[in-house]
């Protein structure tokens, strides 16, 4: 029996609430969020899954229950196998899962990114700040209720705002987003400036 299936069987036997997760490729389990550090620690210690490949967040939509899921991929560098571990966040308004930074130092920035994009709090994280957007940005851009164009916000630097009187604007989508799947849209006609002149500079430049 491959080590991944072995590990999944051991998890299901040893932990309450661990269930199989539908997967087309690797062994996958759903686990309770509170058991994440214990389960991932067990995979790392006893089953050789020593490498944390990534941590990702999922927003299933505004009306979904539970709304947020955190997905971990761990890899065995000796067995050359993956295990996918997913945990639903109990609270939809303030989603929280325990941090795995004590197990892998590399989880630090992955968790910061998941926090930045989805607003998932990782309790026990040593320094849970935004990593891509600037400090003080009020939104979580990869949530389903966040528009692709963005939301009008103030710029990070107050001095620049005072000097330029400008802010982060909702980007002009001009009929987009444009996808290049064949037959649906003529890309040369859909070139933003060719059709839509709704967005023109009315404000004098600084």
């Amino acid at each position: 029996m491959p080590a991944a299936l072995d590990a999944v069987a051991a998890l299901k036997g040893g932990w309450a609430g661990v269930t199989d997760r539908a997967s087309l490729d690797h062994a996958a389990v759903n686990v309770p969020a509170s058991d994440l550090p214990g389960i991932l620690g067990l995979l790392k210690r006893d089953h050789g899954f020593d490498m944390l490949v990534d941590i990702s967040g999922v927003d299933w939509g505004m009306n979904a229950k539970p709304r947020f899921t955190v997905v971990y991929h761990v890899f065995s560098t000796l067995g050359h196998e993956y295990v996918r571990v997913a945990a639903d966040c109990a609270d939809d308004l303030v989603p929280e899962v325990p941090s795995v930074t004590p197990l892998w130092a590399g989880a630090d920035w992955h968790e910061r990114e998941a926090y930045d994009m989805f607003g998932i709090r990782f309790t026990g994280h040593p320094d849970l700040r935004r990593i891509l957007m600037w400090d003080g940005y009020p939104h979580f851009p990869l949530r389903k209720d966040f528009p692709l164009a963005g939301i009008d916000t103030v710029l990070p630097d107050a001095e620049v705002v005072a000097e330029t009187k400008t802010g982060a604007i909702a980007a002009p989508m001009m009929g987009g987003p444009f996808v290049a799947s064949s037959g649906e849209i003529n890309m040369s006609e859909a070139e933003p400036r060719a059709k839509d002149e709704s967005w023109t500079e009315k404000r004098p430049k600084p």
Partner: protein
């Protein structure tokens, strides 16, 4: 003719001119009082003898100096910076236009070349570096992203660097060819040559 105007002038043979006999105390010619002393025995302008004196407009001189040596501040933020490096390298050689001295200190730069996507998070740094540049200063927005935000119609990208700093020349392209950047530099030099620099300096 010169001899008629300055009757006291004795012409010195050319070989003696080169030896500069007057420097060694030898009196090579005799002049009446109040005659302008000059070693010039030629009737046309010769900078070797007259000294390098040219009469011109102050604007022309100042702008010529400024446009002939524009030191760029390479604000390389994305892939356009690779083309900017190619422009500086041997095949395109931005040194032909006097802009080869890439200054990584804004204090010593004349023209900021914004090469790449300006994110909102980076915008404060771009503005700050622009503020740190000494006057006179100019800006080239290189490529679609720096000019308008380009293909990044997104929550994270500044929709044109002209929202935070004044831009003199926009370059289209994604990324622009090095020739296009050189063309922008020439355009900027032409713009600089039209500026009323002397009156600006006096009123400053």
């Amino acid at each position: 003719m010169l001899r008629r105007r300055c009757p006291g002038l004795k012409l010195v043979p050319p070989q003696n001119l080169l030896a500069r006999p007057w420097r060694q105390g030898t009196v090579g010619w005799f002049l009446p009082k109040n005659t302008m002393v000059s070693a010039n025995t030629e009737l046309t302008y010769d900078s070797k003898i007259e000294g390098d004196v040219i009469v011109s407009r102050a604007d022309a001189v100042i702008n010529w100096i400024r446009s002939s040596s524009m030191w760029p501040m390479p604000m390389g933020l994305a892939c356009c910076a690779i083309e900017l490096m190619a422009t500086g390298a041997s095949r395109f050689d931005i040194a032909r236009f006097g802009a080869e001295v890439m200054r990584f200190s804004p204090r010593q730069a004349d023209v900021m070349i914004v090469a790449g996507t300006v994110t909102y998070k980076m915008s404060s740094a771009v503005r700050r570096i622009y503020d740190q540049m000494a006057e006179p200063k100019w800006v080239i927005a290189m490529g679609a992203c720096a000019s308008t935000g380009g293909m990044y119609r997104s929550y994270a990208v500044l929709q044109g660097v002209d929202r935070i700093i004044p831009v003199d020349v926009y370059v289209s392209g994604c990324p622009p060819r090095p020739e296009a950047l050189l063309d922008a530099l020439i355009k900027l030099q032409e713009k600089v040559k039209r500026e009323p620099s002397a009156s600006k300096l006096l009123s400053a």
